[in-house]
Symmetry: C2
Subunit: 213 residues, 2 copies
DNA sequence: ACCTGAACACCGTTCAAGT
DNA sequence: ACCTGAACACCGTTCAAGT
């Protein structure tokens, strides 16, 4: 049932996802759903945790940097497959078991790699925030592939009102450049990710200086 | 009217924010709102842009790093004052004028500071993603102040089921540590922010090596 | 005891009926 | 022409009425 919920939300988006449409999709009467979940929020929580189950665990043996990179890419992939999920992370509900398992592995990997308690929290928080935010940004923007994005940028550039060119010269300049060269979400994501991992490296060596932690 | 919408959303959250409650708040009949706005989405878009208007523009004269830092903190502050806003960034609607003004200033500041086109986009994208994601994370977590969070962590630790201690040992370890020392969102945010800015520094010097760009 | 369909209290929005 | 209130098509959820 949770699986059917995820599939439906993938298809129709979160707005089209209602108790009633899910019920008809499953070929049951709407109230039948309430035999398995207390309310819609609990259903959504379960679906979000199912998305978490798709994220690979970081493996410390491969080195902290590669492990963090792989798991961040994996999380981003999951959020890309299920665009509705990132908007639901806000759920005040308790984190599900898959979420806990995932973050336990994250903490374990960093601690084993010699990070202090505090730094472990910092790194986890920063990486998660970046992945969430990137997924949110991508959901906002409309175009999909590099080609599409180049075309979209070109179109935007074409019908820019003359006064906008005066108001937003630098923005226009960048849009023009993107129209030429295209915009690739995958590449954009990993550049930012590697940038953050560079920053983690700096943080790590800083903390190394203070053995007290 | 947009201002009243922002105030109401601040008060009651996005779930309690309906056309009808806003109308009664303003002392008018619900349909009167449709004289000023085509539909609810357009109203929300306007409200989001009002939030953007609270964000300070980066000023290149202060140096790119300080400028980026100040504007990121300012954006995060705005999203903290208006918790509902980050969940609405997803709106597929066109970005508002304040949003455009803001990003124009961002691009201008970075370009003037000697960043290449590509790097300017990378830095903007990464910083925005981090701030969005951090705001989203903070909205998810329940506690507010360092003291509250320490208490919450302690409570969580107290009533952890015995099997959870086995399943999530590393998570438990970190929660225990947080129970001791507390958790400060403000500090957490700036640590991650400075970490990213360190990474930007690395990226910047790398690109410097390739004058072609 | 269990299932179920009508019903409730909402929502955003339409639209005809008043002025 | 403008305003407005009833009405429409939905929603999540309750609950009594059937089996």
């Amino acid at each position: 049932m949770l699986r059917a919920g995820v599939a439906l939300a993938d298809d129709v988006g979160i707005d089209g996802f209602t108790m009633r449409t899910l019920a008809t999709e499953l070929g049951v009467v709407p109230m039948a759903l309430y035999k398995h979940v207390a309310n819609k929020q609990e259903l959504l929580d379960g679906m979000v945790d199912l998305v978490w189950s798709e994220v690979i665990e970081p493996r410390a043996e491969r080195g902290w940097r590669r492990a963090m990179r792989e798991r961040s890419v994996s999380l981003r992939d999951a959020l890309e497959r299920h665009r509705w999920a990132v908007g639901l992370m806000e759920a005040h509900g308790r984190p599900g078991p898959e979420n806990l398992r995932q973050h336990n592995a994250m903490m374990g990997c960093l601690r084993k790699s010699g990070f202090s308690f505090r730094t472990t929290v910092h790194v986890t928080s920063t990486l998660d925030a970046y992945v969430y935010g990137f997924a949110l940004q991508q959901k906002t923007l409309s175009f999909e592939t590099p080609e599409e994005s180049a075309e979209a940028a070109a179109a935007t550039q074409r019908d820019i009102p003359p006064e906008a060119a005066m108001l937003y010269p630098h923005l226009l300049e960048v849009v023009s450049e993107l129209a030429r060269s295209g915009y690739d979400y995958d590449e954009e994501f990993v550049v930012g990710l590697d940038l953050i991992l560079d920053g983690v490296d700096v943080l790590r060596s800083d903390w190394r200086q203070e053995p007290a932690d």
